[in-house]
């Protein structure tokens, strides 16, 4: 169960090697979290992540999960919920992909969209159903400011996050009053391995900062969290900017 400050005792991470997710897990383990499930494709990196969280004192288990294998989601995630209540599900998988390649090879674009959007729709709904039965819990969805307005430089990724973001908001409305809380997190440019080699955008942030914002959002039962917070007014401005001007911005 979550305590009065929204600190969970159990956590399920979808995308178990995500740096943002692991930073969040570390933060939550420092409070109340004792049970962590890391769902992801079986790999040394996944086992390594589990080992590092274990050394912080949590009981950590891994579960094979592939965002693209939507047919297997029910079984993989059903197993986790069958073991006990999950207080927080952190939906953190996603790929940035290569925009140039995606434009040249539609199959690559489909892979990005399939992971970031279709996979998340499937996994999100599977988890939502179990959370609903529990009558409590939070589903934290890692969206992105990229979904707020598609940019020339990564619109395939951006459009998949836009879809995910809209899906998560709608799911939050659908679950209102069921005891389940959905929180959409919209970080800006985060310096992680996903963005390694890219020039940092203005207002770039870190996985730790996102983790801190997630923890604060759980405490406040927020529905949308921007990281950093100043992105909220900035993106409101960009969102309403005429296309002709937006196109020329160096973003």
């Amino acid at each position: 169960m979550k305590d009065a400050f929204g600190s969970p005792q159990s956590l399920l991470v979808l995308g178990g090697t995500s740096e943002i997710a692991l930073a969040t897990a570390r933060r939550l383990i420092a409070r109340r979290t004792r049970t962590v499930w890391l769902a992801g494709r079986p790999s040394p990196a996944l086992e390594d992540a589990a080992g590092r969280l274990r050394s912080l004192g949590a009981e950590v288990r891994t579960v094979p999960f592939d965002a693209l294998d939507t047919g297997g989601h029910e079984e993989a995630l059903g197993k986790v919920f069958a073991e006990g209540d999950i207080d927080v599900v952190l939906l953190a998988f996603g790929v940035l992909g290569d925009q140039e390649r995606a434009e040249a090879e539609p199959a690559e674009a489909v892979r990005i969209a399939g992971t970031n959007y279709t996979g998340a729709v499937s996994a999100g709904l599977v988890c939502a159903r179990s959370l609903r039965v529990q009558g409590h819990g939070s589903l934290v969805v890692l969206s992105s400011v990229a979904g707020e307005r598609a940019r020339r430089s990564n619109f395939v990724y951006g459009s998949s996050k836009a879809g995910l973001d809209a899906f998560a908001q709608g799911l939050g409305d659908a679950l209102y009053g069921t005891g389940v809380h959905v929180m959409v997190v919209r970080p800006g440019f985060v310096r992680t391995k996903m963005t390694a080699g890219l020039a940092a955008a203005p207002l770039a942030t870190t996985a730790e900062a996102v983790a801190e914002a997630v923890e604060a959002g759980l405490r406040r039962r927020s529905e949308v969290v921007w990281v950093p917070g100043v992105l909220r007014p900035v993106m409101a401005l960009l969102r309403h900017m005429p296309q002709a001007i937006f196109r020329k911005l160096p973003v």
Binding site: M1, G6, Q134, G177, V180
Partner: protein, 456 residues
């Protein structure tokens, strides 16, 4: 918010404790008879159920996410008042407020009353509540002659003091079964007024000395403490102590209806108040005013019962003043000889500037027999703090460590955030409690958010 689902007569709804933190959803069912209560327990499903009274437990003790919550206020019959012996037999959903309405005109009063009249008899047993008279009267279950308990097998048992089931249920937070009825011994009174002595204590030392030296002279005793005062004034307080007024203490006019019970009411607190209304500054000003407003020393003042025992009951929904973020109440006890721990905790709260205007210090008498019963001989401090205060969780964890190291404990009826590992340290009989539950309720029919959170 509510949607009609589940068995007939139940609705799915979002539930919190009095502190309004951690909402979860459950099927709320209001049994109106023993038969309905038995049926509710038998058909509660895999996530179990928990009895709920008037929702005054601050934390998650009367919530059960995804399962059933039984609103016991439908079982509210007063069966028998033995006006000779001073015993009332009533169903569990009867409130102390209702008991006072019925019993005061007969010259009887409830043996123990907490800071609110809006608790049920079932809740009073489940939390083994205490009041301002704990130092002389002990906690509620000491005055219970027997209760009827609906257990997981669907049987209704009569439980008497001196048995394991009694001691597991007294303070057992509803986890051994559903209390359906109880027989409670009463206290005779001549009037419905109180004679009250008020005095100020300049600091914590002064306060503890006054309480230690003179508490035994009063049936009821409590101190409001200013936790925002620092430096030499740390722990300054206002003591209010008293007893039921005898008939001859009343002025002639009041003697015509000496047992009248007329609690007043103010308008309810509005909904949707913003968080942060109760900041350090506003609460600091209030506390300074409240301290100076109290007389240095006044004796024999006549007060209404409701003003003396339940000042907050006059403001319905006062818990809304903390805004949508809600609040937590922190109440702990440490034994005599652990005054240093108490002092350190008070100093840390003062240094941190926790905006608490409802802080109460009391001297407990000997503890009861309940395995998870909270009161124990020593000092208890209770304070309300807005839940949104940054870093509050970690801060209270540190206080817990100090309390546990001193052999003390926190009150489960008020808890919403204790680290589960500390339960067995604070309540050494918790393993026995779990063992009895395992035997009596192997399927875990009686389950609450509190029992899940603390692995009770």
């Amino acid at each position: 918010m509510a949607s009609p689902t589940g068995p007939a007569g139940s609705r799915t709804t979002s539930i919190t404790g009095w502190g309004r933190t951690s909402p979860t959803t459950a099927r709320l069912l209001r049994p109106g008879s023993y038969g309905e209560a038995v049926a509710a327990v038998r058909t509660c499903g895999a996530r179990g159920g928990i009895a709920r009274g008037l929702g005054r437990a601050y934390g998650d003790a009367a919530q059960n996410a995804g399962g059933a919550v039984w609103d016991m206020t439908g079982l509210d019959r007063i069966r028998r008042v033995d006006a000779e012996a001073g015993v009332v037999e009533c169903e569990a959903g009867v409130s102390l407020h209702r008991l006072m309405e019925v019993l005061l005109p007969l010259g009887w009063f409830v043996p123990v009353s907490p800071g609110t009249r809006y608790v049920t008899v079932g809740g009073a047993v489940g939390a083994d509540i205490h009041g301002k008279n704990h130092h002389v009267a002990g906690s509620f279950t000491r005055h219970v002659r027997s209760f009827e308990l609906l257990t997981a097998d669907g049987a209704v048992r009569t439980v008497r003091p001196g048995t394991d089931l009694f001691d597991a249920t007294a303070g057992g937070m509803g986890l051994t079964g559903v209390v359906l009825a109880a027989a409670v011994r009463l206290v005779p009174v001549q009037t419905s007024l109180m004679t009250v002595d008020t005095e100020r204590a300049a600091d914590l030392d002064d306060l503890l000395a006054r309480l230690s030296a003179t508490d035994h002279r009063y049936r009821y005793s409590v101190a409001w403490i200013d936790l925002l005062a620092r430096g030499a004034a740390t722990g300054r307080a206002v003591l209010t102590r008293g007893d039921h007024a005898p008939l001859d203490a009343l002025p002639a006019r009041a003697r015509r209806a000496p047992l009248a019970f007329r609690p007043g009411h103010l308008p309810p607190a509005p909904r949707g108040l913003p968080e942060g209304l109760l900041g350090r500054r506003s609460v600091g000003l209030f506390n300074a005013f409240w301290y100076r407003r109290a007389p240095r020393r006044r004796t024999g003042e006549l007060q209404r019962l409701s003003a003396f025992f339940h000042p907050l009951d006059g403001v319905p929904h006062w818990n809304r003043i903390y805004g949508r973020g809600g609040f937590v109440q922190y109440q702990f006890v440490v034994g005599h000889g652990q005054e240093e721990t108490l002092r350190r905790v008070v100093e840390r709260i003062a240094a941190r500037g926790c905006p608490s205007f409802l802080a109460v210090l009391k001297r407990f008498g000997a503890g009861g027999s309940g395995w998870l019963s909270f009161p124990a001989a020593g000092w208890t401090l209770a304070l309300d703090i807005p839940a949104g205060l940054p870093g509050l969780g970690a801060f209270l964890d540190e206080l817990d460590e100090a309390v546990a190291a001193a052999g003390g404990r926190v009150y489960l009826a008020k808890d919403a955030r204790l680290r589960p590992e500390l339960v067995d340290v604070m309540y050494p009989r918790a393993p026995e409690f779990r063992e009895l539950r395992g035997r009596l309720d192997p399927r875990g029919v009686f389950t609450s958010d509190l029992s899940r959170r603390l692995a009770l």
